[in-house]
């Protein structure tokens, strides 16, 4: 199972959730497979999906799923310490770990070699870290949504990409429709 298949498998689970999605192919795949106004797509700035998602979770009470990658978490590794020390029950970090920098041509990351991001997350103080295989991700994500505890999921999948178009929606449109969803959910 490669990342695009993993993302397709979680579409029913994230359909009604606030989602912050990582830069590059993950956002492009999610946009193509299941665009929704409650998705926030990163068009730039590698490494900050987990931080942006945590910011949304810290500012309001609706659940937020930050979809990140192994390479992006490695580039902002200290985010795991910030997450652990500011736990929020409405925050879920899903790290799609394919052991490679997918968007740049599948160069291997250290997460695909000796470094365990789940172990790093635990060492940083994250108390609810779940490791799973790609096919188990939808169930793990649903369990996290049903629970009332911050969860970090490290989902292992194969590296590999499909052809996807770039996102042509403007950043302001992406932000404003996402913020509209945040407001609507917090008001109702």
């Amino acid at each position: 199972m490669i990342r695009s298949q993993l993302l397709k498998s979680i579409l029913p689970v994230i359909a009604d959730q606030l989602v912050v999605c990582n830069i590059g192919l993950p956002s492009q795949e999610l946009f193509m497979l299941g665009d929704q106004p409650n998705n926030f797509y990163m068009l730039g700035t590698m490494g900050l999906s987990s931080s942006i998602g945590l910011g949304v979770a810290l500012a309001q009470t609706e659940k937020v799923i930050a979809i990140d990658g192994d390479g992006s978490v490695l580039t902002n590794l200290a985010t795991l310490a910030t997450i652990a020390n500011n736990p929020r029950p409405n925050y879920i970090l899903l790290i799609v770990d394919n052991g490679s920098y997918g968007s740049t041509g599948d160069q291997p990351t250290y997460a695909g070699r000796k470094t365990s991001l789940a172990a790093v997350a635990r060492a940083c103080g994250c108390e609810n870290v779940v490791e799973c295989e790609a096919a188990e991700t939808a169930d793990a994500l649903q369990t996290a949504l049903d629970g009332d505890q911050m969860t970090v999921i490290v989902a292992k999948c194969d590296s590999g990409n499909i052809d996807v178009p770039v996102i042509e929606m403007s950043p302001i449109t992406i932000r404003e429709r996402f913020m509209g969803e945040v407001r609507r959910r917090n008001e109702s």
């Binding site: 730039g44 490494g47 945590l54 910011g55 949304v56 500012a59 910030t82 500011n86 950043p171 945040v182």
Partner: protein, 168 residues
């Protein structure tokens, strides 16, 4: 040690509905950080690096809280990409309260090395920049915060050693 100016700055943040502040510390900013940590109106979340902090700020803004980042000017060398591709690209209002190290009164020579690049980088990025050199310039902060919210841009408030030493 907390001074009146530290309370004044945090009061201005609160009066402008800033509900989320992230910090990477500097000794000139220690008083401000101490005051804001004790204010119920502000959620203070320290970050490990300033680009991470700007990610938190972008998220907090989308979650409904006005953000502010407090950091040292050396961070300007860290956050150029984040300012351009996240804060500016998505039009997120972000006042940056910056300790301007390396100006007259500085004791650490290496701080001057980034001080000489600070305004040039901010200018290159087209970021409205305000330099507080005398203590009474704190009076301008309220207007700058309103301006930032209005134009939905990052703005830089550079506070140098003379500002902090002459502020009440």
């Amino acid at each position: 040690m907390v001074k009146e100016v530290d309370r004044r700055i945090v009061d201005d943040l609160v009066a402008n509905d800033i509900g989320f502040v992230t910090t990477v510390p500097c000794k000139q900013l220690a008083g401000v950080i101490e005051v804001l940590q004790g204010r119920d109106e502000i959620l203070h979340v320290p970050s490990n690096k300033e680009d991470e902090g700007m990610g938190l700020c972008a998220g907090a803004y989308m979650g409904g809280k006005r953000p502010c980042i407090i950091m040292q000017n050396t961070a300007i060398g860290v956050v150029v990409n984040t300012l351009a591709t996240l804060i500016q690209y998505y039009q997120i209002p972000l006042p940056m309260l910056i300790s301007y190290r390396g100006e007259v009164g500085e004791k650490v020579a290496c701080q001057v090395e980034m001080a000489v690049h600070t305004k040039a980088i901010l200018q290159q990025l087209g970021i409205p920049t305000y330099h507080f050199h005398h203590g009474e310039q704190v009076e301008e902060l309220d207007g700058i915060l309103k301006h930032t919210a209005m134009c939905k841009k990052p703005t830089a408030i550079l506070t140098d050693a003379n500002f902090w030493s002459t502020a009440q």
